[in-house]
């Protein structure tokens, strides 16, 4: 995770990354933070990502899976 930018997350490309940055989520770990605040709930997280950066379900599912895997690995 480190200091990686938000675009490093799966499903988050340049466009979504820009939108997330505008919303204040410039680093991947801030998104991780939100993911954890939502208690790793898939539905809620995807909904949040959709609200925040207009992600489609494929993108948000990828992002969710990516963070989920990271958490399973390192938490």
């Amino acid at each position: 995770m480190g200091e990686k930018p938000v675009t490093e997350l799966a499903g988050v490309g340049e466009v979504l990354g820009k939108r997330l940055e505008v919303a204040g989520f410039d680093k991947a770990y801030t998104v991780l933070g939100q993911f954890l605040v939502l208690k790793k709930d898939k539905e809620l997280f995807q909904e949040w990502l959709k609200d925040t950066c207009n992600a489609n379900s494929k993108q948000s599912a990828d992002c969710y899976q990516c963070l989920k895997d990271w958490c399973d690995e390192f938490l």
Partner: protein, 710 residues
């Protein structure tokens, strides 16, 4: 074997000479098979218990033995069962228990005598009458008058909790004035009017609903003449009826899980008049509801209702509940001028406050909430949809039977509620916050969390970045009518309810799998018309005559229907059909003079604290009552001749299949239907069931339970 008999002899001895308590402890301590014939004595212990003296003890002993699994049909060497003995000795109470536990009064002993014969021979007419009622239904004639009374006990408004409860008061003054619609009709009508006001398109959520209880506030009514005005104005085409509804209690602190709609202007006015020590202290309760919105058919239809009620404490004054339909928009504006105060929802900024009078002993409250437009932001006030339950007391004095019938009205009522922190509030103020999502202003974090938790969802931290998500989640949870909760609870109940897959006849199974069948019913209709035409032939001699006093009934399990009529509007007809078919557990035929006699047996046992019975139907009813709900009793095809009712019963039993029901035997067919092939008879049954469902859906659920069930 020898030791077992020894115990049995001991029990025999105790029944004969000991006390009930010693017998009870004996049965508790010793495990013996009581359904055996004791050698030398030639009878079983239950035979003995049924017949011993004194009668009181006999009753107790019989009850104890039956609770411990005594078999009422146990034959001794002469073929005599305990039922016979009860008949011979005229022990009606015992007989009721025995038959309730599955005893067969038509069983014959080796001499060929049934309990009937013995009752006649021993001149036990009481027994004879009872058996006659239970077994033989040939005494159904027009001469049979109503053997029961059915009175409105109370009306309950509920959301999740009870909001308000109304009970009728008899007022002899008002009864004189012309034709008066039945009280229930009035309420029904009221609710029908209200059903129009439900708007499913724009659900919003009510957050907090409180109820302020303040009975001490003294009120002086200034609106009596004002009520009169209304009456005069509306004489043209109003439906007026006099009912007397006393405001009894009002409880609840927090209401939740309410869906609301906000399209129609509604008004809820409550002035209570009360006369206590001070003669001028009059509280007048008025509820007025009107609607004015575009529904096809009734674009300008306005319903206006006044409930003027008093508490039972005061002396009779003229109490009128008027239900006015007509052009009452004028009146409503009149009201607003005449009424002293307007209370409104505080948290809803669009509401206005008008306090004109604030005397110590004077004050009328008018709470109004009106909403307009399509948006779910109300222009004032908030509304809760409440369910209306009517409770009727069914009483059959001859049989000493009291049942409570709870009717869940199909259409929920929209209750306008306001936030009203004023001290002068009469006892029934409902406070609420409405929000149109995703506006989250009215939802503070704690409420939101509580709501979500209540719906079975555990939220994480609710912050600025997550609040909207949780509000959406809440909305989604509320929209789905408690599926998750239901699944949970039904899982829990799963043990109690027999959830094993029932198998029905081919015709029903097909209809359950294929939802298209509903679209083409002509074939079925033909069958029904043929059957019906045949039965209307009066020249024939039908079994039990041609008095049109019979009906067919279905018993449904409320744990499976789960108030289906209310849900039916929102779901596919086919889904309702599946639920409906699954919930049926008994098909029977009844007669008008005693519509609920099929529950008497179960009730007799219930009163004695039985939890089990050998009779499958009675057992099922007891199970349902044990779960604190009432049996849903659906009377269909009223006013037909007995033979027709029997035929319908039989065809429905065949359609559902005996294994899926608690019925003991298949029915009998009469008339032309008897000559039909089984497939057609089942198809008739299927169609009748479908019609039954339609009746059920429009009539609403009626649950019957004993009066001592909370």
């Amino acid at each position: 074997m020898g030791t077992a008999y020894k115990e049995l002899f001991k029990l025999y001895d105790i029944i004969q000479n000991g006390t009930e308590s010693s017998m009870e402890s004996f049965l508790k301590e010793t495990k013996i098979e009581i359904n055996q014939i004791i050698p030398c004595k030639g009878i079983g212990v239950l035979h003995l218990a049924v017949g011993i003296e004194p009668e009181e003890k006999s009753k107790k002993c019989t009850e104890l033995l039956l609770k411990n699994g005594g078999d009422p049909n146990l034959c001794n060497d002469d073929g005599v069962t305990p039922v016979h003995i009860a008949a011979i000795w005229g022990r009606v109470e015992n007989l009721k228990l025995l038959i309730g536990c599955g005893g067969d009064p038509s069983q014959r002993d080796l001499d060929g005598h049934s309990a009937f014969d013995y009752a006649t021979r021993e001149e036990q007419w009481e027994v004879f009458d009872y058996l006659h009622n239970v077994v033989d239904v040939t005494d159904d004639g027009p001469a049979n008058k109503c053997a029961y009374t059915l009175d409105l006990e109370r009306v309950l408004l509920t959301t999740d909790q009870v909001v308000a409860e109304y009970g009728p008061i008899v007022d002899e003054n008002a009864q004189e004035s012309g034709p008066i619609p039945r009280k229930s009709a009035l309420i029904n009508e009221w609710c029908e009017k209200n059903s129009l006001t439900i708007n499913k398109l724009y659900p919003t959520i009510i957050g907090d609903t409180y109820l302020i209880d303040d009975e001490s506030a003294p009120w002086k009514s200034t609106c009596l003449d004002f009520t009169d005005n209304i009456t005069l104005d509306l004489t043209k085409d109003r439906i007026s009826s006099d009912t007397h509804t006393s405001f009894k209690t009002c409880m609840s602190s927090k209401l939740s899980d309410v869906q609301i709609s906000g399209i129609q202007p509604l008004e809820f006015t409550s002035n209570e008049s009360r006369q206590s020590s001070e003669p001028s202290n009059v509280m007048n309760q008025r509820i007025s509801v009107y609607e004015n919105f575009s529904l096809p058919g009734s674009p300008s239809n306005i319903t206006h209702q006044n409930y003027n009620t008093k508490t039972s404490l005061k002396k009779q004054r003229n109490k009128n509940t008027k239900c006015n339909t007509g052009t009452s928009s004028l009146i409503s504006s009149d009201c607003s001028q005449e009424l002293d105060r307007v209370l409104a929802v505080v948290q809803n900024k669009t509401n206005e406050w008008l306090c004109t009078t604030k005397g110590e002993e004077a004050g009328n409250t008018r709470r109004s909430s009106a909403s307009s437009g399509v948006s779910s932001n109300f222009s004032g006030g908030s509304i809760v949809i409440a369910n209306v339950h009517e409770e009727y007391k069914y009483e059959d004095r001859e049989e000493d039977v009291v049942l409570i019938e709870k009717r869940l009205l199909v259409s929920p009522v929209v209750l306008p509620v306001d936030d009203d922190a004023d001290l002068f509030t009469p006892d029934q103020t409902i406070v609420s916050v409405a929000s149109s999502l995703p506006a989250s202003v009215q939802y503070d974090d704690n409420t939101l969390r509580a709501e979500l938790l209540r719906l079975g969802f555990t939220p994480g931290p609710i912050q600025d970045t997550t609040r909207n998500l949780y509000l959406k989640k809440l909305q989604a949870l509320k929209k789905r009518p408690r599926d998750d909760v239901d699944v949970l609870s039904s899982n829990l109940q799963g043990l109690a309810i027999n959830r094993q897959k029932k198998t029905y006849s081919i015709e029903i199974e097909k209809s359950l799998r294929n939802k298209e069948w509903i679209n083409d019913l002509t074939m079925y209709m033909d069958l029904e018309n043929k059957a019906r035409a045949n039965f209307s032939d009066n020249t024939k001699k039908w079994r039990e005559g041609t008095a049109k006093t019979s009906f067919t009934y279905l018993l449904l399990d409320p744990r499976l229907t789960d108030n289906l009529p209310v849900k039916a509007g929102k779901q596919d007809r086919h889904v309702s059909w599946v639920t409906f078919v699954n919930s049926i557990f008994y098909v029977g035929k009844g007669k008008r003079s005693r519509p609920y006699s099929h529950l008497y047996q179960a009730l007799t046992l219930w009163k004695k604290d039985f939890k089990t019975s050998k009779d499958k139907k009675v057992q099922h009813i007891l199970d349902i009552w044990s779960d604190k709900v009432g049996v849903v009793c659906l009377h269909i095809f009223q006013n037909v001749i007995p033979a027709e009712a029997y035929t319908y019963e039989a065809s429905m039993i065949d359609a559902l299949g005996l294994t899926a029901l608690k019925n003991l035997k298949v029915g009998n067919y009469y008339g032309v239907v008897a000559s039909w092939p089984l497939k057609e008879r089942r198809m008739l049954g299927l169609y009748l069931l479908y019609k039954a469902m339609l009746i059920f859906l429009s009539e609403g659920e009626r649950q019957l339970r004993p009066d001592d069930l909370d």
